[in-house]
């Protein structure tokens, strides 16, 4: 019985060597309805707050890609980001399980890049909602409300200040109470079991 099992396992493994690649990514296929649904449910983006927080906490396993031209990239880029043009982005190959965040000035180029990578079969691609503009507003120069309430409220003031200083920005105190950043309620796969 044991030898039978052993032979089956060995046979399956040996066959695999000549069988060719198991992950059939690379070919282009689009399921429009799925993609539209993803965008509708806002599962396609991360907010600047989320990204900033995960970088700051050192818990980020994203690859962050800046799609602007290289001179703008040299001027300022999100710490840890790498610079690629849309063509370079599409030509490169990535680990299919790797999460990727794309950003540009606003959202147009990153959205285009995201659709292209989805078409290539990558599933874990997100765009930075609002692009670098939102990064500046929410992370670098956030507005600190004078008063805050609720369970998340008190912490978020401290957190906004801390995050802004971490990225060498400058928080600003204003009198009007702006919208508090919301954490996305996306199902997140934990890094542990």
């Amino acid at each position: 019985m044991n030898t039978k099992l052993g032979f089956i396992a060995f046979g399956l493994a040996l066959l695999a060597v000549v069988a060719g690649p198991s992950y059939k990514g690379g070919g282009v296929s689009i399921n429009p309805r799925d993609l539209a649904s993803i965008v509708d449910h806002e599962l396609d983006h991360v907010t600047a707050f989320e990204l900033g927080r995960s970088i700051m906490d050192g818990e980020s396993t994203y690859i962050v890609i800046d799609l602007r031209d290289s001179s703008r990239f040299a001027g300022y880029h999100i710490p840890g980001a790498i610079n690629k043009s849309l063509v370079e982005l599409v030509d490169a190959s990535y680990n299919p399980n790797q999460a990727i965040v794309l950003y540009s000035d606003g959202g147009v180029h990153s959205a285009q890049g995201m659709f292209l990578l989805w078409a290539k079969g990558y599933k874990h691609v997100f765009m930075l909602k609002g692009g670098l503009r939102e990064w500046q507003e929410e992370v670098l120069h956030p507005v600190i409300p004078p008063r805050s309430k609720g369970r998340v409220g008190a912490d978020s003031v401290q957190l906004l200040k801390k995050m802004s200083l971490f990225f060498h920005g400058s928080p600003a105190l204003r009198l009007q109470i702006p919208e508090r950043p919301r954490l996305q309620e996306r199902e997140k796969m934990r890094d542990e079991c």
Partner: protein, 213 residues
């Protein structure tokens, strides 16, 4: 002389033991077919399965988890949820001092106990119970070697559990999560973890041998 629900006897009688065993096994097989064998645990301990068969069984369960849920099995995460839920119940402010607990509690919309691993662990307990009952291995005692006291063994179990629990969090999983699941998807960290687990255990074996000698 003890009798179990199946009417077989377990009186030790050297000469006729073999024959009796066969008859008891026959009765047990019938009971299993009818589905009653776990109602009362048999006093006759059956031998364990061949490890490769058990391994294939677990492998198929693991594969089913990937195919159905896109994730593998785990264990230590369930207990972390328990601890996080406990801390949140007893001292909710404390939770916010620490991203460790916060990650496990999510946004507060649903209980941390409504977690896939918690439900899986409940199943593990049931499954172990069923298998142990069916095989006559369900008994309340302390497993240890002959030259160890029960108290001593329990102390080792407690301390060992504590160290192991700490290590499992640092490594982001245990032998089920990182070992089986991470191993099957060929994650580098998981394989490294497995190697260091075996290394750490082999290195410690000499120092705790009194438990088992």
């Amino acid at each position: 002389m003890e009798t179990n629900i199946l009417g077989g006897s377990t009186m030790k009688n050297d000469a006729a033991d073999g024959l009796k065993d066969v008859r008891i096994q026959g009765r047990m097989k019938t009971a299993q077919r009818v589905g009653l064998s776990w109602i009362k645990s048999s006093t006759h301990e059956q031998p364990y399965w061949n490890p490769y068969q058990a391994g294939v069984g677990i492998g198929v369960v693991l594969l089913a988890a990937f195919v159905l849920m896109g994730r593998g099995l785990g264990a230590s995460g369930a207990f972390t949820s328990l601890v996080a839920a406990g801390v949140d119940t007893i001292a909710p402010q404390h939770v916010h001092s620490n991203t460790f607990y916060e990650n496990y509690l999510g946004s507060g919309n649903s209980s941390p106990l409504k977690d896939w691993l918690v439900f899986e662990i409940l199943g593990v307990i049931i499954g172990g119970y069923v298998s142990g009952s069916m095989a006559g291995r369900r008994r309340a005692f302390v497993e240890k070697g002959p030259s160890m006291t029960s108290r001593g063994r329990m102390a080792y179990a407690l301390l060992g559990g504590l160290i192991m629990g700490f290590g499992s969090k640092l490594a982001r999983g245990c032998t089920s999560g990182q070992g089986l699941t991470g191993g099957a998807v060929l994650s580098v960290g998981s394989w490294v973890f497995m190697v260091t687990v075996f290394s750490g255990a082999y290195a410690t074996a000499y120092f705790v041998r009194r438990q088992w000698l």
